[in-house]
């Protein structure tokens, strides 16, 4: 079964079982997102992909495409809300883009550029978060974790392990490691695992690779995240 949905006046075909974001991506329509990644179980937590479906706000990454939906993706109101939620992620953790080795390749930063985010707007939480440099090849900087759950899903769904988990409640959420010591070095993660490479921010980094591509020549230094995401994710859908 298939059908048509309408996004911002454009008719877009979908196939049974597709979510709104999957149908949109296949048709070349970008919906900003952070916790969504094609091929992974949808999570729906970052809410950056919020669209308005028949008058109701929904997460495009989890909400199924259904015949006859009228969807607003680009509106001043949604853009403003998405910018504010991205700013929330910036003030919740400790993000210092100029000194972060992920800068230019960071999806959080890429989405912020796309949404024309010029400041953090909200007061900072100055959360006291730690680093885990115990593993010989992989570094975790908890300051940059946005709880998108991608590493958790990657480890479980792609790597067949359970290296990561999200613990805590409310603003006290934290990423935890499945090992006796709680440190990454004692987990069964491998540097070639999907979970080691999936992080959209600079929270999980591969050691000794940070500056192989110089700043200024990185992905989002030259391309808007909408172009990059559409190109990569449509490729995945094929």
């Amino acid at each position: 079964m298939s059908g048509t949905i309408n996004i911002d006046g454009q008719n877009i075909p979908f196939e049974e079982g597709q979510t709104i974001i999957e149908a949109a991506t296949a048709a070349g329509v970008y919906i900003p997102h952070l916790c969504h990644q094609p091929g992974y179980t949808p999570h729906g937590s970052c809410k950056v992909c919020t669209v308005n479906v028949n008058g109701r706000n929904c997460s495009a990454c989890t909400f199924p495409a259904v015949e006859g939906q009228t969807i607003v993706n680009n509106s001043a109101e949604l853009e403003q809300d998405r910018r504010r939620m991205t700013q929330m992620l910036f003030v919740e953790g400790n993000h210092f883009c100029p000194s972060c080795e992920k800068t230019g390749n960071c999806q959080l930063q890429g989405v912020a550029y796309h949404l024309n985010m010029l400041d953090n707007h909200f007061p900072h939480f100055f959360a006291n978060r730690e680093m885990d440099a115990s593993h010989p090849d992989i570094l975790i900087d908890h300051n940059r974790c946005i709880f998108c759950n991608l590493c958790v899903r990657a480890s479980r769904e792609k790597d067949g392990k359970n290296v990561f988990g999200i613990s805590g409640r409310g603003i006290n959420k934290r990423l935890i490691i499945n090992s006796d010591s709680g440190q990454l070095k004692d987990s069964d993660i491998d540097v070639n695992d999907c979970a080691a490479h999936i992080c959209p921010t600079g929270a999980i980094l591969i050691k000794r690779t940070g500056y192989q591509v110089p700043i200024g020549k990185r992905i989002y230094d030259h391309h808007d995240i909408s172009e990059v995401a559409l190109m990569e994710e449509r490729e995945h859908g094929k």
């Binding site: 729906g44 706000n57 999200i166 409310g170 603003i171």
Partner: protein, 593 residues
């Protein structure tokens, strides 16, 4: 030693990972925390990742990774407890026991903390000691408690008056007035026929009593029509909305009828297993409910071939462990599966994919109570009460400033004025209808009526008189939501914490004109983008009072264009302490006067 204990707990739980919360509650009670070694043993025995166990322990307020006192005392921090002098009593208890709130005493004997509303608002200030409800706290009782703790007297030997919980039913209506005979509703269901009974529920116009008001018959029909081997019935007794306590009373005095309603649901949807998810705060009625279930089994009203009708159905009680969010049905199901109570993405809805991804009906305690009565009396009888859109009655938990706080049952459509007169409220400033997630109405709105089409409520009805400070009320509610946010989605996780900061800034006198505008726009953001009902309603206390009492907020503001978000001079405190200085030059004024 520990290994033996854990083996026993695991055996009792039949090694089911879904019973993780039950297992962890037992460990917490035994060791005052969940020892790290126990986590490894459990992970192995249940074949679940260690991270899941840690995530569960850190999610629920009553579970801990670090040891609490052998007497763990929690004081209810609902607005009604505060109105009854809770803050003062907490201070008194703290000095009597020589332990600060949020801390464990050095000798490990006692720990003290705040907790969200324990559902004793009509007999507060209230608290919990090792999970058991304490009511009507005052200085003499606190002296008594402190002495018992110091003597290390086992809880079983504490005088029963400390734990006495009253029903306080002041007004019984169509449900509370005529309790049914045991088994009569099940018998009536089979006599009439299962399909005809569902028709009667439809004709009754019964809508869910938890607050959202979905049509019960429609929900059950959807679930019944789902092709699946297994269906489940769940009774949501995670009554966490501050100011609500009617389900506690219903389960204390009408549990038979609630279980009977669940059994009818099982017959209709084709379920063999039901669950009562009881909030951890109601531990005091757990044993009593277990005994009632056993009596029903003995009487052939539960178990195999109920009343000879070929229905096999049993009910298991699952206790929560301190998380308001588990009142949300999909979070409750997650919790029942031994996970943190994080609301699921929908669709699919629980009627299609609920507990263990099987079709599941989740209803409130009061809904099942009503179902049993409707099965006997018929749909027309029920629909003859209430209004056109809100059939039947609503059982209210009334508390706050009135002379007779307790349980009141009214036909829907009753005016607020009538309720206030009955419970003895005077000089009223306003009412929080439906708890913090509901609406604050002012004393200009008492002609409004209680009904889904006007003021909907899950049961909470908190009255404030003119001596109360609106901002203190709103602050208590806003802090509550920040504390209870599950943290899954960005707008609620960060947004409720920001709402707390922004509101505190204004209340503490550091706000200027732009801050109220910012507060309101943050409210809208959290409301319209959050994942579930918690986030979508967390801003209601601010929004509904901003609309009605803008002057109350404005009075807090400074008449300058910009005021920093933090206390400039306060931030220098540590520096002053380190430098041993307190002279004038070591202080900064907040703004140039």
């Amino acid at each position: 030693m520990m290994k033996t204990f854990i083996q026993k707990v695991l055996t009792d739980a039949d090694y089911q990972p879904a019973r993780l919360l039950t297992i962890l509650r037992a460990l917490q009670a035994e060791y005052q925390h969940i020892p790290i070694d126990a986590i490894d043993i459990l992970a192995d025995a249940l074949n679940i990742p260690r991270t899941q166990i840690i995530a569960v322990v850190e999610f629920y307020s009553f579970l801990h990774l670090t040891p609490q006192g052998r007497y763990d005392i929690l004081i209810s921090d609902s607005i009604t407890d505060r109105m009854q002098g809770k803050e003062n009593l907490l201070g008194y208890l703290s000095s009597a026991l020589k332990v600060k709130a949020g801390q464990v005493r050095d000798d490990g004997l006692v720990s003290l903390n705040n907790t969200s509303c324990t559902g004793m608002c009509d007999q507060g200030p209230a608290g919990l000691v090792n999970g058991h409800a304490l009511t009507k706290l005052d200085r003499p009782r606190i002296d008594e408690i402190a002495a018992l703790v110091e003597q290390q007297k086992p809880l079983g030997e504490w005088p029963p008056h400390l734990f006495a919980v009253d029903d306080n039913i002041y007004k019984a209506g169509l449900l509370l007035n005529g309790p049914i005979e045991n088994g009569a509703a099940i018998q009536a269901t089979y006599t009439r026929g299962i399909n005809n009974t569902l028709e009667e529920l439809d004709r009754a116009g019964l809508r869910g009593r938890g607050g959202a008001g979905f049509k019960t018959a429609m929900k059950w029909r959807f679930c019944a029509e789902e092709p699946s081997e297994q269906h489940f019935v769940v009774c949501n007794a995670d009554e966490g909305e501050p100011g609500t306590f009617k389900d506690r009373v219903l389960l204390n005095s009408h549990a038979e009828q609630v279980f009977e309603g669940m059994t009818i649901a099982a017959a209709i949807i084709g379920a063999n297993q039901g669950f009562l998810y009881l909030r951890g705060e109601y531990l005091h009625i757990f044993d009593k409910l277990q005994a009632i279930l056993q009596q029903r089994r003995n009487a052939g009203l539960l178990g195999a071939n109920i009343l000879g009708q070929g229905l096999d159905f049993d009910i298991e009680i699952r206790l929560g462990a301190g998380a308001y969010i588990c009142g949300e049905e999909s979070a409750l199901i997650e919790s029942m599966e031994g996970k943190p109570g994080i609301p699921r993405n929908r669709p699919p809805y629980p009627v299609t994919s609920g507990y263990l991804n099987q079709p599941t009906v989740v209803n409130n305690v009061e809904t099942f109570l009503a179902v049993a009565k409707i099965a006997i009396e018929g749909g027309d009888w029920f629909a003859s009460f209430g209004t056109e859109k809100s059939a039947g009655s609503k059982i209210l938990s009334i508390c706050g400033d009135c002379s007779r706080p307790g349980i009141y049952e009214y036909p829907f459509g009753v005016s607020i004025e009538q309720i206030l007169a009955d419970c003895g409220a005077s000089n009223v400033l306003g009412i929080q209808v439906g708890g913090p997630s509901g609406t604050f109405i002012s004393n200009q709105e008492f002609n409004r009526q209680l009904a889904f089409e006007d003021l909907a409520t899950g049961g909470s009805f908190i009255i404030f008189n003119n001596s109360r400070n609106i901002l203190e009320i709103v602050q208590n509610f806003t802090h509550f939501f920040a504390h209870e946010s599950c943290g899954f989605c960005t707008p609620c996780r960060v947004g409720t914490a920001l709402l707390k900061k922004q509101l505190d800034k204004i209340i503490e006198g550091h706000g200027s004109a732009g801050d109220v505008v910012e507060l309101e726009s943050l409210c809208q953001l959290v409301k319209s983008n959050s994942h579930c009902g918690l986030g979508q309603t967390a801003a209601n206390p601010i929004l509904s009072t901003l609309q009605r009492y803008p002057d109350v907020y404005e009075k807090q503001l400074k008449s300058i264009s910009y005021e920093p978000g933090f206390d400039l001079d306060g931030s220098l405190e540590i520096a002053r302490r380190m430098a041993h200085r307190d002279d004038a030059a070591a202080h900064l004024s907040q703004v140039e006067d």
